[in-house]
C-alpha cells in the first residue's frame, strides 16, 4: 500500500462520515421519522451481510453459533451481553467442532 492510497482511503472514509452529518440541512419531521426506523434494520442487515456470503455460502459454523447466541439474548437489549453470549457460543462450538 502506498501513502497516496492511504490518503485516498482516509478522505473517502471521513468524507462519507461528514457529508451527511455536516452538510445536510435539518430534515423535515416526516423524513426524520422514517430515518428513525433505519438504525436497527441497518444493523440487522449488516449482521446478515457478515453471515451470508454472495452466492448463498454461509459463514463458518462457530460464527453462525456466535450469531445465534447473540440473537438469543437480544431481549436484554445490551451489546455487552450480546458480545458475551456470542463469544461463549463461538467458543463452545469451536471446542465441539
Amino acid at each position: 500500500m502506498s501513502w497516496e492510497l492511504l490518503a485516498g482511503l482516509g478522505i473517502l472514509t471521513y468524507g462519507s462520515r461528514a457529508v451527511a452529518l455536516a452538510l445536510l440541512p435539518t430534515v423535515p419531521p416526516r423524513l426524520a421519522a422514517i430515518m428513525d426506523r433505519m438504525p436497527s434494520a441497518l444493523f440487522a442487515g449488516l449482521a446478515a451481510h457478515a453471515l451470508v456470503i454472495p452466492g448463498g455460502v454461509l459463514a463458518e459454523p462457530p460464527v453462525l453459533a456466535a450469531a445465534a447466541g447473540a440473537m438469543a439474548v437480544t431481549p436484554f437489549r445490551s451489546v455487552p451481553i450480546c458480545l458475551a453470549a456470542g463469544l461463549a457460543a463461538y467458543g463452545l462450538t469451536a471446542l465441539i467442532g
Partner: protein
C-alpha cells in the same frame, strides 16, 4: 452541542456503556495491527488506523491488497463499505444541533458502535457520540500499536470474524426501540440474506437498500 449543562452526568454512564465495546475494538485492533505489520509495515499500519479508523474498511483493504488487488478495486470496495456512513450521518443529523464545523468534528468519531450508543441513548446524542467515539478511537489505536509490536493474536483471527455479526446484532437490539423496530430489523436481515442468493452483485449495498425499504413501510402499531 446545544445540550444542557449536565454533560458530566451523561459522560460517566456513556463511558461505562462504551467500555466493553472499547475492549472488543481493542482486541480487533491487535488482530489488525499484527496482520497489517506483516502486509504494510509498521508505519503504514499505524497511520491507517489513525486516519481511517474503521475496522471494516481496514480489514477489507488488508484482505484485498494481500490478494493482489489494485488500487482501483480497493477504492471501489471502500466506497461501497462507507456508503452506510451516509445513512448513519443522515439519521443523526436530525438529533444533533451545533454548527456545521462542530458536526464535521463529531463526524470523525462516527463509527457503527458510537452511532448505536448515541441513537440508543435518545438524549444527549452529541455527548454520547463524542465520549464513546473518543474512547473507541483510543482503543483502536492502542490495539493497533500492540498488534504491531507483536502482541499475540494467535487464535484471535477466528474470534474477530465472529465479533462483527455479534456486534451488529447487539447494536440492532439496542436501537430497535419496540416491537415495530424488531420486526423491521428481522425483515431487513432476511432481505439481506435473500439478496446473497438472488442478487449477489448487489450484496455490498444490500444492508442499506434493505434498511431504506423497511423504514419506508408504515408503522403497524400507529
Amino acid at each position: 452541542m446545544t445540550e444542557p449543562a449536565d454533560t458530566a452526568s451523561v459522560l460517566r454512564p456513556s463511558l461505562l456503556a462504551a467500555a466493553p465495546l472499547a475492549a472488543a475494538i481493542g482486541v480487533f485492533g491487535i488482530v489488525y495491527g499484527a496482520a497489517g505489520a506483516v502486509e504494510f509495515g509498521a508505519p503504514l499500519t499505524i497511520a491507517m488506523s489513525l486516519v481511517v479508523f474503521s475496522g471494516a474498511v481496514q480489514f477489507a483493504v488488508l484482505g484485498l491488497l494481500a490478494g493482489g488487488a489494485g488500487a482501483a478495486a480497493v477504492l471501489v470496495t471502500v466506497l461501497a463499505l462507507n456508503a452506510r456512513n451516509l445513512v448513519l450521518g443522515a439519521v443523526l443529523r436530525s438529533r444533533l444541533g451545533g454548527t456545521r464545523w462542530q458536526r464535521a468534528g463529531m463526524a470523525w468519531f462516527l463509527v457503527d458502535e458510537s452511532f448505536g450508543l448515541a441513537v440508543a441513548a435518545r438524549k444527549h446524542t452529541a455527548t454520547v457520540l463524542l465520549a464513546s467515539g473518543v474512547l473507541f478511537y483510543a482503543a483502536w489505536q492502542v490495539g493497533t500499536v500492540l498488534g504491531v509490536l507483536g502482541a499475540q493474536a494467535v487464535g484471535l483471527e477466528g474470534v474477530a470474524s465472529a465479533v462483527f455479526p455479534v456486534l451488529f446484532i447487539g447494536l440492532a437490539a439496542i436501537t430497535a426501540g419496540g416491537r415495530d423496530g424488531v420486526t423491521r430489523a428481522i425483515a431487513a436481515g432476511l432481505l439481506v440474506a435473500g439478496s446473497a442468493f438472488l442478487v449477489p452483485d448487489l450484496h455490498a449495498f444490500a444492508p442499506i437498500i434493505a434498511a431504506v425499504l423497511v423504514a419506508l413501510l408504515p408503522r403497524r402499531d400507529g
